[in-house]
Symmetry: C2
């Protein structure tokens, strides 16, 4: 991936940086938490994605001469400040969930400890990268979960480049979809950048470029005898596409090859796929896959399966690449100051749901003996103990007592220290495998696509007490 | 903008290209139309955007050695084909609506006439660029329209980089938002790339980094005495933010400066802005702007204005950058073969709404004496004449007779010939001005944000007859 410019930020980050620098605060040690307040798609979980590309970006982030020259034209920045930016590098620490883990609302997914002006600058880049990739990885996981509910199995490939939000939106969506369990993408650039399996069929234009559909099918199969998937609906799926595909499948077999698949792109996918599966099986082509596309989503997939649809590969485009649907389109991750020079900080606001949690916190995750996730708890440091009472971050009246059966682990790791990765980059296949394993450890109710059981993220007594104390202090300053 | 790789495409474009090349069809002259079937946001119009960046990309598009080396690893492409790609450039013609015009469903917005394999390759790039930018420009126009409905006026700035779909999603959204009427962006990189006005305030973290909010406000104002906008809600908007802002406004004035604005980011924006406007006016600060943010959209803006809200600048983030809301998130533009070697082509499919229109078509737009848009008509060439009957593209039973008062103009221009622009790139300010002028010519009912009057796009008799004839021919081939 080409390295990003630090100008990919909001103007106020730079004007604040200059302010911190001017007032001598820029080197004060700040702690910022990244978290979101609401799970996407009204679902029960999110798949954390984008960490590895973020660490790449941070390691390379610097101001080029052209960046400084542009900033100078804005008549906002002093020569001294621009000079200070010249040697600027990110030197901080990052503690985070490893990419591919399942995560929830109201817990710090990533904590930056860094000189104040460094942490401030990277906010936009962090949120831009992690919000979008987490959103798409979660959408992919939901689609894969729907596809695998079929007794016959089913896989998801990403087909959305043409509807994505910009070229990079397409490429990073393909990556994130793979983290969430997609097995491939149609996007060649994403294939190159991330080593993803690339896949595809042909378009209607191919069929229209030959005298008849059968000519077109034969022409494609002759060139790709072992990897042809024929699109059936240019003229009429059942009356033209299917019989022509069967003809080509037979001809291929006579030559020692096998047709790989057929693709449906319109009509009633449940009905058509049942009919076509039966026709293929009856003709001795049980190995020919049925691929479907046409504005698929997790709910369309579930609907097709509920009606006995026999689709092997779901090519999910628009809804995956743009993470559409209720509660989709964007993940509302935020990045909030939690401490400065060791002093806990919070934003109060008039809206309790938008208050932040002060202090440098740890995230602990409890599992049962079977490894199933039970509860996440935030503390100021100590491992939670059985018998302690923990409370809901948005409703202090809702509390629970920790059980002895809960096995606790620190959920996050220090992934960057002094501006450098603490370990080698992880392969995308390892990240995908982690996500798969994590999803398998979710309680069934939390995995439910609609109206899921809410997985609890709770505050240890120390965090809740600190929040009350800092809020009280802020209210004491009212009007000053 | 860095030049894009031709690998930013779907794999099937490349496998089809090889197929056309292998079968000697690659140089056949193809005509492809780009259009969408449904207006975004359930609205009455779209603002066409992305054309200039697309022409930039096409002029520079070529296969680098690294692209060819990657393709070679896929074991799908012959050495002869890869060699043929080495010198590949786009050499075709593009006829299109100029950027910034208002456009509608079912009309060809852009027509490519080019050797078949060239047109096929660029499909993904075209759709990726134009779908997203048109979507965001339209969203911006809807937000600006809502803001300007206030008796006090109101402007929209783009604040969404942190929620955008990837880095480029952020940058290209900022550009498209400007086309649609936004007056600036917080995104510094977009400011640099497109010469957009960049704007911003400060964050909650700034306030939290000083002993009190008043210290923080003074520190910011001292550094930016003529361009400070103070964020009021870190502690409490009315009890802390407002009185502190008034103190700083008075202090600035004593020093010969004026506070530029205050920003609301939570709470009831209608109530708070009325209250704060009154307080500022009473204290003699009628010139201080009220800026608002917090998950705004055209409907939130309209609601705030309906309740007498007094916001001058709407900082619209997530909903603008990701083009959220009903009917948003993605624009379903498609790119369909209309003719090959002069022979009209169409996709029939089992779903009439997904059929394409064959033939090389012209788009004619009728206005009345006042310049208000009346009707768009597609013909195979000739200018529409009064008395002719034209029909709805999705419902042939719905037809209308053209009136003598209709003044017709060819709606599109040849913007690229032989792979090169036919005229110099347009400035973004000119494009924005065109969009503004075009929106002013929409019938009021078509501009309505919800349940608008459907602007008619109709088929001339020649187009409708050709469609029936080609469809008949395709049905005649069924089963072959």
């Amino acid at each position: 991936m080409p390295s990003l410019s630090p100008l990919l930020t909001d103007l106020y980050q730079l004007t604040m940086m200059q302010g911190y620098h001017h007032h001598g605060l820029h080197t004060h040690e700040a702690v910022f938490d990244l978290y979101f307040r609401r799970l996407p798609f009204e679902g029960g979980y999110a798949v954390w994605a984008g960490l590895e590309p973020l660490l790449d970006s941070l390691e390379g982030l610097h101001f080029a001469e052209a960046d400084l020259a542009y900033l100078d034209t804005l008549n906002l920045f002093s020569p001294a400040f621009l000079e200070a930016l010249r040697g600027w590098r990110f030197s901080g620490q990052i503690e985070a969930f490893r990419e591919g883990r399942v995560v929830f609302a109201h817990e710090p997914l990533l904590t930056v400890t860094a000189p104040l002006w460094e942490a401030q600058l990277i906010e936009t880049l962090l949120l831009n990268t992690l919000n979008f990739q987490t959103l798409v990885a979660t959408k992919a996981a939901r689609c894969v979960q729907a596809a695998q509910a079929s007794p016959y199995g089913g896989q998801v490939v990403e087909f959305g480049a043409r509807r994505a939000q910009g070229p990079d939106g397409a490429v990073s969506a393909a990556r994130a979809a793979f983290v969430g369990g997609a097995t491939g993408t149609s996007n060649v650039e994403a294939g190159r950048q991330f080593g993803l399996p690339v896949t595809g069929t042909h378009a209607h234009a191919w069929v229209e470029s030959f005298p008849t559909e059968l000519h077109a099918f034969r022409a494609y199969a002759s060139l790709y005898p072992d990897s042809t998937t024929l699109l059936l609906d240019t003229v009429d799926t059942l009356r033209s596409g299917l019989p022509n595909a069967l003809t080509v499948a037979r001809e291929l077999r006579e030559q020692g090859h096998e047709l790989r698949g057929v693709r449906l792109d319109s009509g009633d996918l449940a009905y058509l796929s049942r009919h076509i599966r039966a026709a293929l099986d009856e003709a001795g082509f049980g190995g020919v896959q049925i691929v479907a596309s046409n504005d698929l989503s997790e709910s369309v997939i579930a609907g097709v399966i509920a009606e006995g649809g026999r689709i092997d590969v779901y090519g999910v485009g628009t809804q995956l690449t743009t993470a559409g649907g209720t509660g989709g389109g964007a993940l509302g991750g935020v990045f909030k100051l939690a401490a400065l020079q060791g002093v806990p900080k919070m934003k109060l606001t008039g809206d309790p749901a938008k208050s932040s949690l002060p202090g440098s916190k740890h995230v602990w995750r409890a599992t049962d003996e079977a490894g199933t996730l039970m509860l996440d708890v935030l503390t100021l440091g100590d491992r939670p103990q059985a018998g302690q009472r923990v409370s809901d971050p948005t409703n202090p009246l809702r509390s629970t007592v920790l059980e002895a059966s809960m096995q606790w682990a620190n959920a996050r790791e220090v992934v960057m220290q002094g501006g450098q990765r603490t370990s080698a980059p992880e392969s995308l296949r390892d990240v995908q495998a982690r996500a798969k394993a994590e999803l398998a450890c979710l309680p069934a109710g939390t995995r439910r696509p609609l109206n899921p059981h809410t997985y609890r993220v709770s505050l240890g007594g120390d965090v809740a007490a600190l929040r009350d104390q800092v809020a009280e202090g802020l209210r004491g300053h009212l009007g000053q």
